[in-house]
Assembly symmetry: C2
Homo-oligomer: 446 residues x 2
């Protein structure tokens, strides 16, 4: 990373790490600020003054420790992308890093975030003063003032990447993507990262996520298929416009509805479309995980007919691929364009299926692959995800309409068809859970 | 398009048009040179001199006619992307186009190709002098000289897009992607186009394309499934390394093998991998079109069991989606990442399935959607596609190993299981067919 403080470097680093891990690329962030803080937990702006040789020495030592750990991390050949999260704001610092990387026979990609939009910088400063470990327990006004002084100290020596560094592979993101300069991209992963980075924006928005209403196959405990909604599923569809409204809609910004191509999602979206006049898009990529030869069967039947497969799926649900069908890993690959378009888009409501909700949720909340396929996603429950600077906020809104539970814990065949959740009155609309995907990831600059 | 002559503008315009049409986005190229040629079929370099007011007037008239036609074309709301292929090499010309576009309430994206690599320019000039309609019937040496003079005339007035035009949405491609500047990208289609453009390269390479060897399902006339190769299919797999070698391999550049996740493609690739030591990659996205509920059936059985579906598929094969399965349209969407990686890659051999070969071939050869699903792709035949400046060259290499024909013409159920092609001795290795996808599309600048 390259850039002045409060330019969203840690935000970008965190998102890239999360995206890569979701696509099974092992990635890690090395935050130089964290290394620096072991010796200097609460430095003031003077620490970052160019003329402060003491501070300069400490900051260089932190960078060296982070880079050393990063290179050690690469000794494990499974580890693919390390992100060095620091200002790296001078040509000489970048030359030093470049030499280290070339020496270690690794590829590099400098990602500079350059921003002179005062509003963006201020909102970033406000975020930092409330969350940075550098300012824990300090007066927020004082912290903000000190942080602005720190930025000014960096500005004195800051050198943006320019023509004189044209041998570097880099992407320079100016004012959060208003302008992007890409130089000497060589491999496919770099190209995908650049595409991802150019799709990011930081406008406030939310993503609503729901499974379709209860279907006739849910009632009979069958998986797959293209069944209609049950009577209770239809009630959920009718209630959905109200549920979405009560979850808090943005002013003057209509939602776009995305569904799969299967009837139960279209039927669930129909009243949203009719009553609220929102545009609807069907995506084949949002169809349920393809269960191949098991399509239309109950878990009981699968366990009887394909006992080995059933066991194999329990042992490694993320990688298990149904005969002639898909694995969770396959689903994530076909969801990548969805994630790209989600990153570009503003307010979207997605009506889709259990496995798909799990994968999309795993992307936003950084749920590891061994857990995400087992996540409980109850029917008749709307989730609202709101991306924040250092994590995603989740709110759940449960409709008071009972539905079968389709959640099958490891080793069981039973849950799917005999457990009816009664929609307890406690589960009222507006139950709010906030989960920060990377709530502790915030850390300011070296 | 923006750029001096011989910077690959028409090549880029043609590729973008082909890519968009393949993804069902209606696109058209408006080449200003063509309009200019109606009055001035064979102008010499003087015509393009800035001081030639006569020439300047004629060139402006051609641009006006092209833009007028382009705007008229947009009156059909299905038409989405028009590419104005001309030098548009001055700020004032771009301002004029921008105003026209804004007035018509359309979005714009300027694509500048800037190139100062003399080798690239010279190879482009050599291409042009042999193919440009401006120089038909003229001495090639004379033509090349005149063309260089024409470029010099353009250079006198050429203004690259710079800071003063920062209100424009543009992508500036410098030396074929060594450096790319992206400005003010707003919508998803623009973003996808930019991603596509940044993946293009013009290094010489080929793509080899083959179906798997004959499978046991091919013998029994069943579709889908995950069958093993037949005895004849295994013979094809054994012969493949030799067949590829005889097709002409690049020096010192190993091929990468891409297969689907199905056994019949892996088995077909096994000797390539073992004998030649090439790396193999499995792609779920290369799996055969999913025939859903019809998986494992013969066409005869489908016609009997689902007569209406069978008819619907014949009526519109591109859009027909098998119950619980896929359409050709669905397959194209999942193949998009494959095409992106193919554009970035150099020499690749793809062992895949009938419908997938059809879709990939359709991309390279610009086969329209109503034709591509009916294309005959015989078993035991290797295709070599070599992208050239104005089209793709195809060579076919037929192995002398008989196989069933799996080609089913419209309205028939029979072909699949009772017709055995005997592999006539005339069908020898090295049968060469050259087909230019856009052989007539070449046209030089206004």
């Amino acid at each position: 990373m390259v850039g002045l403080p409060a330019r969203g470097k840690s935000l970008i680093a965190g998102k890239v790490k999360r995206y890569l891990r979701w696509t099974s690329v092992k990635a890690e962030v090395f935050n130089v600020g964290k290394y620096r803080r072991t010796d200097n937990p609460h430095p003031d702006a003077n620490f970052f003054d160019v003329n402060n040789t003491e501070g300069e020495k400490a900051r260089k030592a932190a960078a060296e420790a982070a880079v050393a750990d990063m290179l050690k991390w690469f000794q494990d050949k499974d580890n693919k992308v390390a992100i060095l999260d620091a200002t790296n704001s001078t040509k000489s610092r970048r030359k030093w890093i470049y030499d280290k990387i070339v020496e270690a026979n690794l590829l590099h990609l400098f990602v500079e975030s350059k921003c002179d939009d005062e509003d963006l910088i201020m909102s970033n400063i406000l975020e930092v003063k409330t969350t940075s470990p550098d300012y824990v327990g300090q007066d927020p006004e004082e912290a903000a003032k000190d942080f602005r002084d720190r930025i000014r100290n960096y500005e004195k020596v800051y050198q943006t990447i320019d023509e004189s560094e044209k041998n570097l592979t880099y992407v320079k993101i100016i004012n959060i993507g208003a302008r992007v300069v890409i130089n000497l991209i060589q491999d496919y992963l770099q190209s995908r990262l650049v595409y991802y980075l150019t799709n990011l924006h930081i406008k406030p928005r939310s993503i609503w996520l729901s499974r379709h209403g209860e279907s006739e196959f849910n009632l009979s405990g069958q998986i797959g298929g293209d069944a209609n909604l049950s009577e209770r599923g239809q009630r959920y569809a009718k209630m959905l416009p109200d549920l979405v409204k009560r979850s808090g809609l943005p002013k003057d910004a209509p939602l776009t509805i995305w569904t799969s191509t299967l009837k139960r999602t279209s039927q669930t979206a129909q009243h949203l479309q009719k009553e609220l006049g929102w545009e609807k898009l069907q995506w084949k990529a949002l169809d349920e995980l393809d269960s191949g030869m098991c399509d239309g069967m109950t878990y009981q039947e699968i366990a009887e007919k394909f006992p080995e497969d059933f066991q194999a799926r329990d042992d490694d649900k993320y990688n298990y691929r149904y005969r002639g069908g898909e694995s969770y890993r396959d689903v994530v690959i076909r969801l990548e364009p969805i994630i790209m378009e989600l990153e570009r888009s503003e307010n979207i409501i997605i009506i889709t299926h259990q496995a798909i909700v799990r994968c999309i949720f795993a992307y936003f909340m950084e749920i590891p692959q061994e857990k995400s396929p087992w996540m409980e996603v109850p029917l008749h429950t709307l989730m609202k995800l709101t991306p924040k600077a250092y994590g995603t906020e989740v709110e759940r809104f449960k409709a008071d309409i009972p539905a079968v539970s389709t959640w099958r814990p490891k080793g069981s065949t039973a849950k799917h068809h005999d457990s009816i959740s009664e929609g307890t009155p406690e589960d009222v609309v507006g139950e709010v859970k906030k989960v920060g995907a990377a709530a502790n990831a915030q850390a300011s600059e070296k």
